[in-house]
Every structure is written in C-alpha cells, then in structure tokens.
Amino acid sequence: MISESEIKLAKECLSMALKAGAQKARVNLVMDRMNLVSTLDSRIDKCTSCFDRSVRISIFADGRFGAFSTNKLEKDSLEAFIAKAVDTVKMLAPDPCRDLPPQERVQKNAVTGRELDLLDETYCSIDGKHRKETALAACLGKVPGKVRLVSEEGEYSDNIYDTLIVDSQGTFCRQTETSFEYFCEVTVEDENGEKYSSFDWAESPRLATLLWKEISRNAYDKACAMIGARNCRGRRCNMVVDREVSSKFVTPILRALRGDNVQQHNSFLDGKEGQKVFPEGMTIADCGARKGESNCILFDDEGVAAKEHVIIDKGIIREYFLNTYSAGKLGKEPTCDGPVRPKLLGWPRAGLTRDDILEMCGDGILVTEFNGGNTNTATGDFSFGIEGFVFKKGKIAYPVKEMLVTGNIVDLWSNLIACGDDSRACMSKLIPTLAFCNVDFNG
C-alpha cells in the first residue's frame, strides 16, 4: 500500500518538475502486489510473487507536453530523471490542447482510497499456504468416462492495487482495491485422438465472494461439448452470441467513439454524434462508478471523476469519448477518457436468458468462442473466426468450428433481434447474450 512517505514523494515530484521549468505537472503513483499459484493436472506448477511501484509524470512546459515513467524511486534518481524530462518536453512542438483538466471535473471524494468499497481488508492475512490450498481445491482432478483429460491448467491469483494522482492544481485522488481471480483451461481428447480445449474464469474484489468451485468443471464441460466439431457449409442465418464473448461486437463501436479516432477521421462513426445509427433496441450506458462492483473507478488517469452516463440511447449516439486533449482538438466539451464499464441494456424485455433467445430465434448458429479476426475502424467491416453450435428449433444440435462470420458492424446491429439480460457482473463490459438475423457465415 502507498505509504505517507510515498505520498510525500509524489508531491515532491511535482515540485521537482516545476522547479525544472514546467508550468504544470501531474504525477500518478502506482503500487501493485500480486501473488499467483498455477496448477497443472491438479499439482502445483508455478508460484509467482510480484511487487511493482512506479511513477508516471506528465509534464506541461512552455505549451508543450510529454509523458514519462520510472520505477527508480530514489530521490536523486527522480530529480535527474524529471529535470531531463522537462528539457525533453521543451524540444517538442507546442500543442495548445494539452492541459490539466479543469478543477470542477476532478474527483474530490477519493481521499482515503477506500471510498469505492473495493478493498478486501483481509488481504494482508492471506498467506502462501492458503493460496496453494485454494488453487489445489479448485482443481478438477480425475474424471471418469471415454473422454481423456489431456491437461488441466488452473491459476489462482490475488492482487492489491493502490493508485494515487496528484497534480500542480491541487488534485489529490486515491483508489485502493483488491482483486481475486481463478482461471482454468482444459484440453480433452476424444476416441479419435482429436483435441478440444476451453476455459472458464471468475473474478471478485473479495476472496469470500470468488466463485471458484465450478470453474474447472465448467471448462471441462465446455471442452467436451465441442467434441466432434466440424466446419459446415456457409449460410446466411440467425446468430446468437453467448454473453461470454458478446463484447466482441460492442468493442469496435466503443473504439470508433474514441475521440482520438474521431479526430483522426479513423472512425466509421465520425460525424454521427446525435444521429440514430443503431436500432431502437440498443442502449449502452456507462456504469463505471458503482460502489462495491468490479472494474469500477472513482477517477480516470487525469483525475476526472467517473460518473454514470448514457453513451448510445435507443440507437442514437449521445457522445464521443473526449478527454481534455481530444475535446480541445475537436473544439468540444470534454466527456470522459473512455467507457469504464459499459452496459448494454436488455431488450425487448427484461429477464431474457440465452435459452429464451435460442427459442426466440428457432434456427441458427450459437457463437461461443472467437478465434482471431479484426474490425476496420475506418469502415466498420469485420471478419472473425468462430466456433460454437448449430441450433435448431431453439435447441443445440451439434458443434461447429473453423467458420467465419463476416459483415459490417452497423449493418449487423441493424439486424438485432434481442439483447439478453444475463451479462456477467465480473466482466469489464456488461454485454449480455445477443441475437442477430441475416448474418453471413463461411465454412
């Protein structure tokens, strides 16, 4: 955890920058401790212990800007590093859009670091023995049946993260949080020697609420479900995308809304602010400042307060993501640096599950995993490798793999049939099961 002397050091870094000739400066001090225990086939395979400390220093000097970082935190070393940093900044071209955020946007209620209630106070009492026991207890072990378990790789990790922002305008923001995670990947082999793999994971800000018990079994069941998967002939049909991977079709939209992409004309949503681009059923809100919930924050990298806001409202684009810099470049009011925890709201009714959606769609392909691919940010054209299942009359029929789904993001969303109400709380994007019609698959 960041100590009082380290808080003092962060403030001294500001003084060093100003003394060296900067007019403004910001210091982000980060401390990160992580312990990790990996298992292979129900035995301990690796133990890792990590502890990181670093400072990031943003220098504003003579209308110019630069970003610097170091993990050499001895005072003499910092003084020399910051003096060189200021000299370096003065060699760059001036940019009037670079500035600290106005004070009215800065978070004022993150003083102790505990305000967001994401700190497990028991963290310091967790020892190596407990970590090993948890990692071993989460293992699947031997499984009976014809399916051979080739390997089971588990990974338990816990982490305490403490971040502090101070700037030359008096900003002081701190957030301290813990995170616990269990991940398992399983590879199985069928009677023909074909291998299939899958994974599952869980995350929680508190150890007591980390739901690790079913993870290995889920990974095994998912791998077994793919036995016999093959590629099948291309088709245009309904596509249901499982909640575990559905963010794949939201991420390109969020990327296209980023201020730097809009400003560089490298966005298929350039010039679309305030327009209805997506269907009525699409509403995305940022829920990134909720107390006690994973992946939430009180402030961004500039110290700007996180707040709940609507990004896309019934298909209408309400905002681009504009930090102080990109807002200045575009001559607009700043909004936020980026979405913290975007949530796609359920549609057409609350409570929809994946099974409900499969039944609603009747026939089609259920996508449960993506394998590579990309989206062109300038055009929205995408192509992804997928695997999953063909479903008929609302029920899963057989597994498929080595297939491709291809299209354009805007066109895809115009064919939205339903959004589930089943997103996983531990994911950074709260995107539920999705369903689209008229989707092109190649096999």
């Binding site: 301990i44 970082s69 060699m91 940019d95 390997s151 394998n371 990309n374 080595e402 491709l404």
Partner: protein
Amino acid sequence: MILNKEYYLGVFGIGETNLEELVAQALKNGGDYADLYFEDTFYSDILLRDSAVSAGGQHLDYGCGIRVLCGEKTGYAYSESTDIPSLTRAAAAAGVIADEAVCSEVAVSPANRYFGKPNPKADRYPFTGDWRNEPLSTAVPFLESIESAIRAKENRCCKVIASLSTSVSDILMYNSYGELKYETRPLASLSITTIFQQEGKTVQNSVGRSLRTGTEFLTPQLATELAQEAVKGVDALFDAKRPKGGKMSVVMGAGASGILLHEAMGHAFEADFNRKGQSVFADRMGKSICPKGINIIDDGTIPANRGACNFDDEGVPGQKTYMVEDGILASYLHDRVSARWYGVAPTGNGRRESFRYNPIPRMRATYMESGKDGSVQDLIAEAGNGIYVDSFSNGEVKIGEGDFTFYVKSGYLIENGRLTMPVKDINIVGNGPRALADIKGVAADLKIDDGTWTCGKEQSVAVSCGIPSVLIGKLTVGGE
C-alpha cells in the same frame, strides 16, 4: 552491443560473490536450478500527429527476476530494487516452489551448460548511436520528412500518424551452474498509419519497420522506403471489395504471410504446449507433417533482426533451429524447462517480456526456406481460381485443435490464373496440420518481413517472420 563484465555489474550495483550468494539463497530449501535476470531498460517514444511532433516521452524500467526450478515446476519472484536485502527476499519468495509439500521429484536429463564468455565479435546487434544519449528532437525532422514525402506522393492523404519507439536494455544473467552472460539489446520500431479519403470514402494503410539497432536506424533511405510503402496500393484499397466467401486456393505472398507459420505452426511447435500434451503436434516428432522439400525454421541468428538474440533470456546461445526438415517434424522450440523434460539441448527459445516474467518457449524469426516451384506468378497460374493475399494484420491459433485465423488487410482475387479484383478486410481460417499437408507449391522468393511483429503468448515479445510465396490447396475465406 557487448561491453565488459564490470560495466554490467556496475549498472546493477552487484558483485560476483553476491550473485553466487543469491542463487544459493534461492536454492536454500531445495530445487535443482536457479537463475537471476537483471534488466535496466530505457524506452523512448515520439509521435507525429496533425503534422506536428508534439508528444513524446521516456521511461525507465529496472529490476531483477529470480527463478527456481524444481523439476519442471517454477518459482518466480522479482524485485525492482537490486539492493541485497530486496534481492534476498525475492530469492526466498521464488524458493517456495521447493517446499516439499507441493514439489515432487521429477526425473530430469543432465543439464546442458554454456560457460562461454559473451563475445563482442559475434554480436548480432552492434550499434554505434545509443538511443539513451540521443535527444528526442533528433527524430523530429525524420518523422516530418516521412509525412512530407507521403503528402507529396498522394493528395488523397488526410492524416499521417507516425510513431518511433526505441529501447536499450542492459541485461545480466547468472545461474546456479555458474554461467554468467551479459549484453546490451537495442530495438527501434517505426510505425506509420496513413488515412486517405476520396469521395466520402475512408481507407487506412499501416506500414512499419523494426530492427535491433541504434540511432543509425534513422536514414533518409528508410524514410523514403516507408513513404513509398504507405502510399502503395491506395487505388486498390479504395476499389477493394469483399469476395464471395468459401473454400478456395490461397496464394500467400512472400514476406508478411510468414505470420501463417508463426500462428498455425510455430506455436504448436513450442515445447511447453507439447510437454503438456496440448499441442496438435504433441506426438508427431520425427513424422512427416508436410510435403517433402519443405523446411521451416526458427532463427535467432539474423543480424539486427527483431527476433535476433546473442543469448536467449536464460543465457542459452541464440541459434538457428530447424523445426521441419524436408517435411519431417525435426525439433520443438525449447527453453531449459522443456529441454530437461525431453532430455535434449535447449534451442535458445527461452524468452520473456521483461524481468517481471519467467522465460517460456517463444519464437524468434520464423520462416520457411525458399522452394523450387518457380515464381509467385507460377503459383497464381497454378491456383487458377482463388485468392492472393499480401498483407495481414494479425492472427490467432488454438493450440490443441490447430485451428488458426488471419485477418487479411489486402490482396486480390485470382481468376483464371490472373490477379483481378482487389480484396480487403477478410479472414482466412484453417487448420495448421491440414494446411501444412495441403501445400501445393513453394516459390523461390523467401522474404523476411521486418515489420513491428509482437507475439502475445502470455507476454509480449518482439519477433519477426518470413515466407516465400506459397500455394495452399484449400482454405476457408470469409466473404459475402
């Protein structure tokens, strides 16, 4: 660059006796091998955007990673301080893997040892201009000249984003065998993204170059070459359409198509996946996996290449490894852990992102040797109908199944043995072993691609790739 031992000991403020004491501390509770990896890296970056070089920065990363092996089990810890008390604590933390309650005995082959002193005359990345001593402003006119050249060649260009990233790392390694290795590793990467607009339509093109070298990287010739590459094929980008998808013959163009080897085959040859039985090639050693005459190599010996290494990150000498020789699976890519497990010599593939990570088997420069099936035109003619691809952005593979995909930024349809309509933004999907077995022709035009390739297997590591033009019988191509 390889300087003298005293320089590196001085950088980390440590003596040879300290090194011996630290590995002894790491092995205090057992374990059969320990190593130390000291790193002091200086990074810098500078960005041209909106016709001005108005952002840049410098970064320092310093520390030491300590590893203990107990059979094939690993204990790992690191310290960002190299004072003795901090390193001793890290050594003790890494040593917990030897706890008898969790670490069982595993039979290992006799270790291979590399006592040779680092040899400056055999250095694969000597450099004259040290990025640590060069002011960022040196790169300003260079980046500006690239933008000017692009705009002079192509009036549809509306934005140029050019970034130069450099690093220099002082590295010192010591292990419980008593091997001591040290060197200085430079890396320079230049990336150019250009946005073009025409009649309301927007396209982008990204090009890059990366080499292990110093400030001599910034030559007028490089600026000219990249400006030419940035505007090459812009008409085709505007005209490109998605083809009708399906299974078809694919001609992979020489150079960047080497990502096929990296993703579809290279990862499955990494020995950790095979040791765990996960790879689709786990039981294929010594067997035929593709047509005779095909040789696939992973090479750490190409001077100044992004994947070059004098030593890997375990102190094993960099080398050239034939993974496939005349169509036969000849070698996996080993770190010390897998080499001991298989009872073979490590192949110099134990690499890591930084001192924060333990080394694992990773590729270096992965390529296929030239074949004897004529030119790329010959392969296109032989394909008859299909697709020719020459530019990729990324790929991915499922190790167990061998299923891979690649995103094709640009290429052409092949119709009646000739290139016709330009295509873009499509994916190709296939299966590694089946694609290898389905190679119909290899041209005599091997090209190593010096792009900014980074492999993301658990950790980010600089790599490169290459390939001659290759005809594959059938792959699935995404499309309308």
